[in-house]
């Protein structure tokens, strides 16, 4: 080692440091000792009092959950008092025996007992734990008589979540239900001590933090028998915030009722703000049983139902958009200068790619003859759009549709939204390990093939079109009202797609003709209005039809029938509302889906903009 070290200096420094460390250790230890003396001599009397005969128990004070209202202040979720049978484990000598005696007296299903045992284990022994929620009068009377023989068992009044509109808006509002063990692990323990329920779905889940409120507590002196003596200190809970939604529950009911008998979805949004006015998924389900604990049979029935009532079709349903994609393809054609509005294309009833035998058929046998863009939209000519798609190519179509939000989440304040699928060359290569075929471009042009959209995406894209390219984020919560402050709902993003005004007007004119011209595919809904509705019908194939086969609605199984779609906005010259409707296996868009949208539009404009 060539290192020159000054050993005497090093020794001196080191010894100094040892001494310094010793001094520091002594100093810090003295601090500990002083604290111990303070606790054990000065504080001994105080702490002994708390520890010996009496001890302090900290009892959580559960906050009241916030209410949920619609845009007009109608109650969508409330807390109603309900009588529950509760046990305080600490006061009961033999819990199993008590439970058996209670079972002979009242009808208590086994799963309730199991639930009770589970929640008992995670609570402190002195916390009252519910066994039966929402007791009826008969049960109340039965227990009241024998109450003295059941020490530690009592009837409590608890606030239970109630959804007055039942199945009407269950997919949006969601529901609260008992906290399960998996959730318990991720919850802030102190915030949920004493809470029995948590939002599981919809607004109840995505706004759980706002709705729940802040748990308070009381420090209570108790003696050995856990009898409450007096409250030393109390910190009141902060009640949860009330939520006001953009939803119009009357409009929701109209759309819901209009879809009776079908599976499907309808979404209506306020074009200017993005606020969701109606958000229907049929069939619905009653969320109320989930609050008190749905029986296993009832839950299995919902789960296994062929119609999948628990499935939020408006948010998560994936459908081919069918012809409702055509206005967007037409606009792409104009924007990319692939066609002019006047350009005529001949429709003989089928389209063929050069050098290929396969015939891509039009829905109308024999064809539409020579059509321009406006007519092509009005009559929904497939051949026109095969041709246009082939001129645009998949790359242009993909980039243009992407701007309208297809293939990505809209960002609505609900959890579990699906992204849909906007196919591209890259996507196909990555997912299917195949290159893109020209035929796939054609069928994408009429909204078939790989393309999949959610009803919400379709409504948002329609609003964007009506808005001349201005994109809004759909949202449900308009304002969050706390005791001392009101804050707005979620942050929404706004963005504008650069589009030529003339091009948009051309497309919108086509969409107006869909509803208001003699040849329009949805002319049935133009009655009793003094404004214009712009729309586009769609009929999406569920089943692939063979080259020479014929689609016969009556001869095939119901579940393979076409989906009926309709997108629309109104008034056409000053748009207020955009509506997208999808009726599963409904058949034709014009006859089944359009009337539903028409009803929603007419009611909304009448209620909000007439007088």
């Amino acid at each position: 080692m060539y290192l020159i070290k000054d050993h005497s200096l090093e020794n001196r420094i080191f010894l100094n440091r040892i001494i310094a460390a010793f001094c520091l250790i002594t100093l810090l230890s003295s601090g500990l000792i002083i604290r111990l003396i303070y606790l054990q001599i000065v504080g001994n009397e105080h702490y002994s009092l708390l520890a010996k005969d009496n001890s302090i128990k900290i009892v959580p004070l559960v906050p009241t959950r916030g209410m949920i209202y619609d845009r007009n202040g109608k109650v969508l979720a409330e807390n109603t008092p309900s009588y529950s049978l509760e046990l305080i484990p600490e006061k009961i000598t033999n819990i199993d025996e008590t439970l058996l005696r209670l079972q002979t007296l009242l009808e208590i299903p086994a799963d309730k007992i199991e639930l009770f045992q589970k929640s008992r284990k995670r609570q402190k022994r002195f916390v009252s734990t519910p066994l039966l929620l929402s007791m009826n009068d008969e049960e109340l009377a039965k227990f009241a008589v024998v109450r003295p023989y059941f020490p530690g068992v009592d009837i409590h009044t608890r606030l239970v979540r109630h959804y007055p509109y039942s199945d009407l808006a269950a997919h949006i509002i969601g529901y609260v239900s008992r906290i399960n063990e998996a959730e318990l692990k991720d919850l802030p323990i102190s915030e949920y001590r004493g809470s029995t329920h948590i939002g599981k779905l919809g607004i109840e889940s995505s706004y759980e933090n706002d709705l729940h409120g802040k748990t308070g507590y009381a420090e209570i002196e108790t003696n050995v028998q856990a009898r409450l003596l007096n409250t030393i200190n109390e910190v009141n809970p902060d009640p949860g915030a009330d939520l006001y939604l953009t939803l119009d529950i009357d409009l929701q009911k109209t759309a819901y009722d209009a879809l009776t008998g079908y599976n499907g979805a309808a979404v209506a949004i306020d074009i200017k703000t993005g606020g969701v006015l109606a958000f229907v998924s049929r069939p619905g389900f009653d969320p109320n049983p989930f609050v008190v604990g749905i029986t296993n049979d009832a839950y299995q029935a919902l789960q296994k139902s062929e119609n999948q009532p628990l499935y939020n079709r408006a948010l998560r349903g994936l459908y081919p958009p069918g012809s409702t994609i055509k206005p967007f393809i037409a606009l792409a054609g104009l924007e990319f200068d692939a066609i002019t509005p006047e350009q005529q294309i001949n429709c003989p009833g089928y389209y063929q790619l050069p050098g290929v035998d396969h015939q891509y058929r039009d829905w109308k046998k024999g064809g539409h003859g020579s059509v321009n863009l406006n007519q092509a939209i009005t009559e929904s000519c497939d051949v026109y759009f095969y041709r246009l798609a082939s001129m645009l190519g998949i790359d242009h179509m993909h980039s243009f549709l992407q701007k309208f939000g297809f293939g990505e989440k809209t960002g609505i304040d609900l959890m579990g939204e699906k992204t849909g699928l906007l196919p591209s060359r890259e996507w196909k290569l990555a997912q299917k390990k195949q290159s893109w075929y020209p035929g796939e471009t054609l069928i994408t042009g009429i909204g078939q093939g790989y393309l999949q959209v959610t009803p919400l995406q379709l409504a948002r894209a329609t609003a964007t079109l009506a808005n001349h390219g201005h994109i809004v984020t759909p949202f449900l919560v308009d304002k969050i009202v706390r005791a001392h402050e009101t804050s707005p709902g979620p942050e929404t993003h706004q963005n504008t797609i650069a589009l030529k005004k003339a091009n948009i007007n051309t497309v919108i004119d086509g969409m107006i003709n869909v509803v208001h011209s003699q040849h329009g595919t949805a002319k049935g809904i133009n009655t009793n209005i003094n404004y214009q509705i712009a729309g586009k019908t769609g009929t999406a194939q569920v089943l692939g039809i063979k080259q020479n086969a014929k689609y016969n609605e009556n001869s095939i199984d119901f579940k393979f029938r076409d989906h009926a779609l309709f997108i629309s906005f109104a008034p056409a010259n000053e748009p207020k509302i955009a509506v997208a409707v999808i009726v599963e296996n409904g058949g034709h868009g014009g006859s089944v889906a359009a009337p539903i949208a028409g009803q929603v539009i007419k009611q909304y404009l009448k209620d909000n903009y007439e007088n």
């Binding site: 080191f14 460390a21 010793f22 111990l36 504080g43 001994n44 002994s48 748990t215």
Partner: protein, 374 residues
């Protein structure tokens, strides 16, 4: 020559003494450790609801730890020095492995599972970090120059950040203090120390500014546990009642009433001092603290007698870290320090920390009993 006589001084001329010398055991330190470990069984019996299984499991680990200590005491300190960098590098690699496995397993992970053997690399790094820093600083003249300080700080930061990410703040704190301890004993200038303290206190408000609300809440709960009596603060409140009600002489062995309360899950591990102080009072608390201080004094003495820079830096840092253990745990239980997961050394129930601790004492014994090497 002088060393020889001093060596004689601590050796009782008995058969046992001869055996212990052959075993490279330092008698005073050994007695202190044995006392503390025996005390551990006494308290655990009470705190663990008189469950003999708890004692058996603890005995297994303590036994293993004492064997390991003896083995380590046999190794010539020169070998520690020689393999310092290798061991440190290996430890860091294992920490990275743990972190990656944690990412895959989605969740906090501190263990490496080798099937039959489960291993916690952060425990090993508690020893290898001071070894590494001591080796590095001993290579250069002391007091360390700014350049060497910089390198040492980076070497400490690497394992610390890896552990803090696990996240295991208690262990991260111990690793930092073991590394910083080496720097301190190497003669880090007081000016520098003052500067670091100044910079840290200046950075606090800046850090505060960048924190999320929930992080601020957590810090506030650290500072004032009573503000969260349903969560973290619950332990502290109950622990203070237990200690305070113990008084001067305590409620006697098995007389603890408060450990029957809800903080029982922690009463055998991190909060065991509360049970001890309740049962044995101020008198017991002070006795335990005195025992700790005697052990630390003996360790510092061993450090002061060490013959080369590496050994003395390592020995002094290990002694100091032991004190940090004691101080942070007791400080937390009596409510003057924030709650971080640091066990009460030699007393708390729990396997890995006692193995590491006694390995550290093994190193100290090795340094003290192998003096003739050059």
């Amino acid at each position: 020559m002088k060393t020889e006589t001093r060596h004689e001084h601590f050796e009782p001329p008995s058969l046992l003494g001869t055996i212990l010398r052959k075993l490279h055991i330092d008698i005073p330190l050994f007695i202190g450790l044995m006392l503390a470990s025996s005390l551990s069984f006494v308290i655990l019996y009470s705190a663990g609801s008189q469950d003999m299984d708890v004692l058996f499991r603890q005995a297994e680990r303590v036994g293993l730890a004492f064997v390991l200590m003896t083995i380590i005491a046999h190794i010539d300190p020169y070998q520690f020095k020689r393999y310092s960098t290798l061991l440190f590098g290996f430890g860091v690699l294992l920490l990275i492995a743990v972190l990656i496995m944690g990412q895959i397993g989605k969740g906090a992970q501190r263990w490496l599972d080798f099937g039959i053997l489960r291993f916690q690399p952060s425990e090993m790094i508690k020893l290898t970090t001071p070894m590494m820093i001591a080796w590095y600083l001993a290579e250069h003249a002391m007091p360390p120059k700014p350049k060497h300080i910089g390198v040492a700080v980076l070497l400490i930061a690497l394992p610390t950040l890896l552990i803090a990410k696990q996240p295991d703040l208690g262990t991260a704190l111990l690793v930092v203090s073991s590394g910083a301890g080496v720097l301190f004993f190497a003669g880090l200038s007081w000016l520098f120390i003052a500067a670091i303290i100044a910079v840290c206190s200046a950075l606090t408000p800046v850090l505060w500014h960048f924190m999320h609300d929930y992080q601020r809440d957590r810090v506030l709960t650290f500072l004032n546990p009573e503000a969260d009596p349903l969560g973290r603060g619950y332990h502290i409140i109950q622990s203070k009642i237990a200690i305070g009600s113990g008084g001067i002489y305590g409620k006697g062995w098995l007389g603890s009433t408060q450990s029957e309360l809800d903080f029982l899950p922690e009463s055998s591990t991190d909060f065991i001092f509360a049970v001890f102080a309740e049962e044995f009072g101020l008198f017991g608390g002070l006795s335990l603290l005195t025992l700790y201080l005697l052990i630390i004094a003996r360790c510092l003495y061993i450090a002061s007698q060490a013959q080369d820079s590496y050994s003395r830096l390592l020995a002094s840092s290990l002694s100091f870290t032991f004190f940090v253990y004691v101080f942070v745990n007791i400080g937390m239980v009596i409510g003057v320090l924030p709650v971080v997961g640091v066990p009460l050394p030699l007393i708390s129930y729990g396997g890995t920390s006692i193995v590491t601790l006694l390995s550290g004492f093994g190193i100290l014994m090795s340094i003290h009993t192998h003096k003739k090497y050059r």
